[in-house]
Structure formats: C-alpha cells, structure tokens
Symmetry: C3
Subunit: 273 residues, 3 copies
C-alpha cells in the first residue's frame, strides 16, 4: 500500500476526530500539558487533564481514549496512571503509553515496564526510548529526553516490543516508524525543527490517542494517520516559521485548518517491511 | 443600563488594574498556569502562583485578590485552596472560584461545594459547570472541561447559585452571563475560536480576580468589565489570527495594548434581566 | 574590559552550547517549565525536567549542569532539589539557584538559605530577591514574583552574598549585574517588556546553567555571556513584537537564529566595579 492508498484513510480519520470530538484523558508531564491540550483542541478533540487517582473511577468510564506520558514521573503519580490504564483496558478503551526518557532512571524503566503489562494499544517513543524499553540496549545509553538513535535504528526493537507487548509500536524520528510486529510502516511527514520545540513528541502521542478513539479496532492505521497529520501540520508550519517558537504556533494553526486537498497531496506513507 | 453606560466603567477598571498592579495569588491547574500568568501580566496585574499550604499564612495577607481553579485537583492541593480562601475571606479580600470540570468526579464536586461554603466573591464557570454546581442538573451530564450547554441555558442555575452562595456568578459562553441573583447582565464580546485554546476560561477567571482587586465592593461590575475586556482582546486577536495558536498570541498582545477608543467602541454589554 | 573585549567570549560560549548540547537538569516551577525547556532547546542545549528524588541518584551523574528554581516550591519538592544539588556539587558539576520570590514566606526563605549552603555556582535573582537573600533587607518588602528594586540598588547585597556564599551572583533588571564579590559587571542588553512575560527570569537562569556547562571554571564569564545572549534575543524579538506574547515568540526564534555578526555588534557589557 502506497501513499495514495493511505491518504484517504488519513483524511477519514481526521474528519472523524473533528466530528466526534472524542474525550481524551491525558495523564501527562507538566512540561507538555499546555501543548498537548492545544494540539488536541486544534485537531477537534476534547482533552481532559485528569490525573488524580481519586477521580479515575468516576471519570475514566466516560472517556474515549487515554494518554499516559511519564515525562515528569514521581512515585505519587504512578498509581493514577496504572488505575486509569487498567480501567481503560478493562472497559475496552484504547490507551497510549509514551515512555518519555524511560532510561533516565531505574525507577522510570520499572514503571514503564509495569505500564506495558497493562496492555497499551500503542506505545510511542523516540528511537532511544523504544530500544531501551524493548530491552535491545543496556540501560544508560541516553539519559535525557532527546534521542541519540535514528528511528530506523529502532525497527527491530520496535517489532520485538510489538510482538512481546501486543501493542502497536510507533517510533518518532526523521522517518516515523509504526509496526504491529508484522507490518512496518514509514511516515515521512514532519520537519527536523520540530525536535527543537519541547513536548512535540508528547503532543503527537496525545494525538494518536484521539485518532485511536475514533478507530479503536485499527490501531496501526489510526497511529499512522495521526503521525502523518501531525507531520503535515509541521511541514506547513515550517513554511511560515522563523524558528522553533513560530513553528510551534504555525503548527497548531495548520493542524486546525487542514483541508482535504492539502492532506491528500502531502501524505507520505510507505510500507517498509 | 446599555453598553454606552457600561463602557466607561470597563475602561476605568482596566486603567485601575494597570495603575495599581494588584498582587493576585493564583492556585490554579497545571495546564493554565502559563496563560493565566501571561494574561494577568499583559493586563498590568502581578500574578503569583503560590500554592503551598506552608506559605499561605505568610503570603496571603499581602495579596489583593485570590484566584482558585480546580482544573487538575488532587486531594493534596485542596487544603491550600481552602486555607487561602478562608484567610482571604477573613481579611476581606475578594476571591474567585473557577469550578473547572466540576462534574468529572464526586471528589471534585464535593471539593467545589466545600469551597463555595468559604464565600467566594465570584464563581466563574461554563454553562455545564454552573448547572452542575447549582444542583440544577444531575451529576454526569458533562465529563470533560468543555461545556455541553450554552451559557444562556444556565441563567436560572446561575441566579439560584448566586442567591444560595452570596457570590456573583459568571457563565462564560457565546454570550457571557453575570448575575448577582437579581440583575442579569450579558457580555457579548469574545469569539468562538477562543474555546479552541486551552485555559482561556481559567485566564478569564484569573482576570476577574485582578479586576475585583481594584473594585472589591462592586463584584458584579468588576466581573462584567473583566469579561468584556478579555472578549474585546479576543476579537482584536481573531482579526489577526490564522488559528487558535496565533489567536492566543494576538489576544495577549491585544490585551496589553488596549486603548480607550477601542474599548469604548467595542464594549457590548446588555441587561438581560 | 569593555564590550568589544567581551563580545568574542559571548559568541564562543554560544557556539560551545550549540556544539556540545549540554544536558541540563531543570528542577523548576510549574509556570516556567515550558519556556525554560524551549529557551534551552532554542539555544542548542538539551533540557531534562527530572525532579523526582527517586531519579536523582541514577540521573544526576549524567548531567552537565543543574538548574534549581523555587518558584512554586512545596515541602515535597525540597528534598529532590537538595539531593540533586548535593550530588551535582559533589561531582563537580555546576549548578544554578534561582531564589524566585524568596521573601514570600518564611518557609521559602529558609529553603533558599539551605540551598545556598550546598554551594551553587551561580545565584540568579531580581533585585528584591538578592537583597532579601543576602539579608540586606528585612523579610517582607516584596511579596510577589516581581521586583520592587532596581538591579543597581542590589549591587552591595549581591557582592555581600557572593562573598559569603562563594557563588557568582547575578541580578536581572534594566541593567543585569553579575559579580563574584570582587568584580562587578553590567550587562546592558534586554528590553523592559520582557518583564511582562512570565518565566523569562527563570528561563534566563536556566540558560545560565547551559552556559556554565560549557565553561564551568569561569562562572562569571559564562553568566555574563548567557545574560547578554538572552538580552540580545529579547532586543531582536522586540523589534518584531506587538506585545508580550509575540515578544516571547520572537525572542525564542531570535535565540535560535543568532549569528556571529549580530552578537558581536550588539553585546553591551561594562565593568561597573
């Protein structure tokens, strides 16, 4: 299946998000809350940053998808992540795990491995994070939030993690990789400067949750669509930008304004394996 | 009283904020802290995000107004909200409650009802929040941060809540409603796209606190002025915007630059009841 | 040494940050996390908002510098600040303390004094904060985040604090002051409107940490360079801005795009004592 064949799927997913405005619970790091919320709002979804374990039993049954990101994890946040994920999984609602900076500590790696046990629909990380989480690399190669691996270096790790976890695994990078362990898809949209804006990776993962909400039975396709849409918005944004801060603004504006012609002409998705 | 008669009041309030630069303590949700602070700074106020219960006894006596928003409430934040509200109320300082997403859990509804007992000067919510808080609707109709009710549907709920709580009640929406239980005022400024930016509702509520600080004895008038000013800034912003992110930027710039002629010509306030 | 002599040092420091992309651990307040991260990313550094005490033993040994800001301090955050600072100091890594709103409570003043004991490389505050921390003023003169003193009023307090603490002390203001207790340097870059954007002070302090990371043995020179670079980015930003929000955007874009000619022609640094 080539780009042309994927394009209509991407547009179908985006219009479904805009029409259905799925309620996406986000338990994400402090740095990213603003951009994640604005990304989801500009895509047409309804984000809710509800992270208290006291609210999970009442709130999580009403959501359409859950997004969990461990970027500023502390021990007191882990129980609500687990409780929300367990309830979502039990109720058949899709959920996305972003193992941000997973290898920065033994505590965080252990927490992420425990979250993987709760069967996320999609795991989204950069190359270094996916390699660390899949056990393909010794802990300690990357310590911060930025990746020291190209996404394409992480393909085998991603496939392995997909097979062992049952999740679709997405690796963001110059080429975004999405795999269910069998199929490997490459999304070639996006621009390099997006890495110079904090929380773009988190926001993409949140957007994946919104797309899953409208197509929960096809997590690979929904993930590919979200990554392409976000990448296209970034490309359009960069055409107007003078640096990372104006790119951030134009990216969100572009995501809000995306039309069918632009999407169909810009989607770049290929089968890699 | 028609728009023309309100206009000079709006301008008087804004210039008082700019001149006095009131110190506004904000105990608000994580998502909104950045935009609340920048809204207050651009209006000329001095925001202080001081939320530790350990600091309330020393700090709160020095503030000019308090803003409390429960958007990312957890049980450990509630004591500081209560302590600051109680001290503010005791010292005769105005305070604003924003019961964000009040119906997302029984925990949050109970917390908000307890905060209402501490006699906020103003309660600011969207239609769904005010209806839920006033007990006019069964819990559970709206689960997220976005409203499923028009503000005008909440007029009776707002009046009832105003009478039972003693607070001025403000309902943001296509038309903003402000009532003290007897008078009902409609503020027709603002634009629809502001709802696609996270934390605009929180920022408006924070701005109400700044306006209350300079006119604590007229909470209805101060609230109406703040809502009109924020709405006008949004209208000016939208004329320059290409989407939600540029609207956010231009809104803050416009709030900073508002001049008398623009304010006087744009205020749209009517008596609705 | 006059501006011309400092200019090449400023450019050398900036290019070193861009080339080495130092990993800077930031334990900062909630309001500032987004802007601090984007400031560091646009300057070429790699920020990591890792604040859990559970992660300090694993993570902090890998960083190149640490930044601690107490802007939204609560008692549960203090242990991780201390643990990270102690480990950084022990491992010879530079660290920066920003005693934001230090005088807003006895709790916060005590916490900052304890942090000063852990030998920060640089202490960065506004005039009121440095005066309060150095004991030159009774607690209580300034209660919020904004300064009620010009930086130049704080020179003696800064020198005294530098001598007693062993840190380089930086005072942001219309003229930024940097002193090691003997030399007093004035940085005349920057614009007044930057004070109307929340977290610019925090972001500047975070940038100082990134510059220290590439020149840890010359903390005064690295601090002066960071303050000049940030001020120049603000000046360039203001030329394009219509208010605080567009200034914030253009400041970050400008920091990202700074070239040698611009830096060399704009640095304004003088010896004041």
């Amino acid at each position: 299946m080539e780009s042309k064949e994927w394009s209509s799927g991407v547009w179908t997913h985006l219009t479904a998000v805009r029409r259905q405005s799925p309620l996406v619970q986000c338990i994400t790091n402090f740095v990213s809350m603003d951009l994640v919320a604005n990304t989801l709002l500009s895509a047409g979804a309804s984000p809710a940053m509800v992270h208290s374990v006291a609210e999970v039993p009442d709130f999580t049954p009403h959501i359409h998808a859950l997004f969990v990101n461990v970027g500023t994890l502390t021990p007191d946040w882990l129980p609500s992540m687990k409780a929300a994920a367990e309830l979502a999984a039990q109720l058949g609602k899709p959920w996305v795990l972003d193992p941000a900076a997973v290898s920065c500590s033994g505590f965080r790696l252990k927490a992420c491995l425990e979250l993987v046990e709760i069967k996320p629909s999609v795991i989204k990380g950069n190359g270094s994070e996916i390699i660390a989480l899949s056990g393909s690399a010794s802990q300690g190669q990357t310590k911060g939030a930025d990746s020291s691996h190209e996404s394409t270096e992480a393909i085998e790790a991603a496939k392995s993690l997909a097979l062992s976890s049952g999740a679709v695994v997405a690796v963001s990078g110059a080429v975004d990789i999405v795999t269910d362990g069998k199929r490997v898809i490459g999304v070639h949209n996006g621009t390099k400067m997006m890495q110079r804006i904090t929380a773009t990776g988190c926001s993409l993962a949140g957007l994946v949750a919104a797309f899953l909400a409208v197509d929960p039975l096809q997590p690979l396709e929904a993930t590919v669509s979200a990554m392409s849409v976000f990448g296209i918005a970034g490309e359009l944004g960069e055409e107007l930008a003078n640096g990372p801060a104006s790119l951030r603004m134009h990216l969100i504006d572009s995501l809000y304004g995306l039309d069918e012609t632009t999407v169909l002409s810009r989607v770049k998705i290929t089968r890699l394996g």
